[in-house]
């Protein structure tokens, strides 16, 4: 394999890893703090993609579309949290899994009825190519990767330097305890959910130019996002970052070797890791069944 192909593959992997990270973070946080599995994050991803499509069509700017997608996804997430999730926080994990799956499927139905089933293309905001070590790489993919890193830094700062972020970290350890201090955890939950939704929407918006948006797009990445979350360990931000880029590289470089197998490689990795550590690389064994 020549160097050019390799570098392209690595860049591709970095961008896809970035997308995975943005989505997996939301899932991980929601689980860590609220002990729910929020499959509906895949819906906010789709919403982000579709809003990006519509806004970029109407306003001519893809970046504006991405921003709008992020915002709308956050709003939808807020609505869902207030209406549905706040009633099921105390229940078992299975409950939230099924309910969020229902929201995801129902949401796909809504998308279908608004935009139809035909996949829509979204233009890439910038077609510039840079020369990296002798290879022409699309700048857009580098931007996606950079944005993911920026988000990671932002989340880190938020969780470690702001009081609300610290409250969330404390809540991930023991929510009841945080309540007992007098902190309104209900608001904390809502905030976390909105952040997760907005990040998923951002992922969808950024991913849209790289793929075509279609109603099933959420389901297509579902398995990968969850493999990332499982490998990294539910509830761990650092683990999510590492596993997102790991899976990104595997999928990307793997497909250069043998395409179909590359899609399955993350699965194999996940199985191996679960064999050794059933809660993922950095996952905690806090929860019983």
């Amino acid at each position: 394999m020549d160097a050019q192909l390799l570098i392209s593959g690595v860049i591709f992997g970095l961008s896809i890893g970035g997308i995975f990270f943005l989505m997996a973070i939301g899932l991980s946080l929601c689980f860590g703090l609220m002990r729910i599995i929020s499959l509906d994050q895949l819906l906010y991803y789709s919403v982000g993609g579709y809003i990006t499509y519509s806004v970029s069509l109407a306003a001519g700017s893809v970046w504006l579309g991405v921003l709008a997608g992020c915002a709308v996804a956050g709003i939808v997430a807020f609505a869902v949290e207030r209406l549905i999730f706040r009633r099921i926080y105390e229940r078992e994990l299975t409950y939230s899994m099924i309910t969020s799956f229902g929201i995801l499927i129902g949401g796909i139905g809504v998308i279908k009825s608004i935009w139809g089933v035909v996949p829509r293309p979204v233009p890439v905001p910038t077609m510039i190519q840079w020369n990296v070590i002798g290879t022409e790489v699309p700048v857009y993919r580098l931007i996606v990767f950079a944005l993911a890193i920026v988000v990671y830094a932002g989340i880190w700062l938020f969780l470690n330097r702001t009081i609300i972020g610290k409250a969330i970290r404390a809540g991930i350890e023991d929510v009841e305890h945080v309540e007992g201090l007098g902190i309104n955890v209900s608001r904390l939950f809502t905030l976390t959910f909105i952040i997760a939704g907005a990040l998923s929407g951002l992922a969808g918006g950024l991913h849209a130019p790289l793929i075509m948006v279609d109603p099933q797009m959420g389901l297509e990445v579902l398995a990968f996002v969850f493999m990332v979350v499982i490998i990294g360990g539910l509830g761990s931000i650092k683990g999510t970052l590492i596993s997102a880029f790991l899976v990104g590289q595997v999928v990307s470089l793997g497909s250069l070797i043998y395409a179909p197998l590359a899609q399955m490689a993350p699965f194999a990795i996940m199985l191996v890791i679960l064999l050794i550590k059933p809660t993922g690389l950095y996952g905690s064994a806090l929860l019983k069944r």
């Binding site: 610290k166 350890e173 305890h177 007992g180």
Partner: protein, 239 residues
């Protein structure tokens, strides 16, 4: 010397009044018709064997459990049905057992959370009672010893000048010197705050409490309010 549960009507002076409290976990009933009264600046002890329901009682008062029936009031405010964070804001703070602190946060950050919740950023009272905490400010709470954790938890609960502290088994597993320190702290605290202490350490609570409730299998089997009767041997008899 009164042995039987009190049947007097609640006095408006009470900082905390529990009447007819019945609590269950699903189908299993844990507390039966609990009556308890705590006056301001009073130290009240709840003693009983493991599983008697003492923690359940504190948790119910603090709003973590919804009772089947009964009333919990503080002055004229009804506490039943309110979320635990609102009850904490009212000045009734629960200090749980097992010395659980937020291990990933530093001591200072733990206190910061308490300040954020109560808007009380004056840590002087805390460091006055527990000077050791000053030294440990930047250590991650997960690395503290049991005694230090207990100090952190109580210190943090002091922020916002609470009216009642519900303290669950504070001296469990602690060295005698620390237990003595805590005992003195409790005595000092009660000059401003009412304390409800759940304890297995009978000599300790008998030394500082002005009222002792003995709980057995979910019921109050004795209420000792007479200084003469608050002795470990007498408590033992009821358990």
């Amino acid at each position: 010397m009164s042995m039987a549960p009190d049947n007097e009507p609640p006095q408006s002076g009470d900082i905390l009044c529990v009447s007819g409290l019945n609590v269950a976990y699903g189908e299993a009933r844990v507390l039966f018709d609990i009556d308890m009264r705590v006056g301001p600046r009073q130290i009240v002890a709840c003693v009983g064997r493991n599983g008697a329901g003492k923690t359940t009682l504190l948790k119910s008062i603090a709003g973590f459990l919804k009772p089947l029936a009964g009333a919990v009031t503080s002055g004229t405010t009804n506490l039943v049905g309110q979320p635990s964070y609102d009850i904490a804001r009212l000045g009734i703070k629960y200090v749980p057992q097992d010395k659980k602190v937020f291990s990933d946060l530093t001591v200072a950050e733990n206190l910061e959370l308490g300040s954020y919740a109560t808007k009380d950023y004056n840590w002087d009272p805390v460091t006055t009672y527990f000077p050791k905490l000053k030294v440990l400010m930047h250590r991650k709470a997960g690395y503290l010893s049991g005694g230090e954790r207990q100090m952190l938890m109580i210190g943090r609960a002091l922020l916002g000048s609470p009216q009642v502290l519900l303290i669950d088994e504070p001296t469990e597993g602690l060295a005698p010197s620390i237990v003595t320190h805590l005992r003195n702290v409790f005595s000092e605290l009660s000059k401003n705050t009412a304390l409800v202490i759940v304890e297995q350490n009978l000599p300790l609570v008998c030394a500082i409490s002005s009222k002792v409730y003995a709980i057995k299998e979910g019921r109050v089997v004795a209420e000792l309010a007479d200084p003469e009767s608050i002795k470990p041997e007498i408590c033992e008899r009821f358990l």
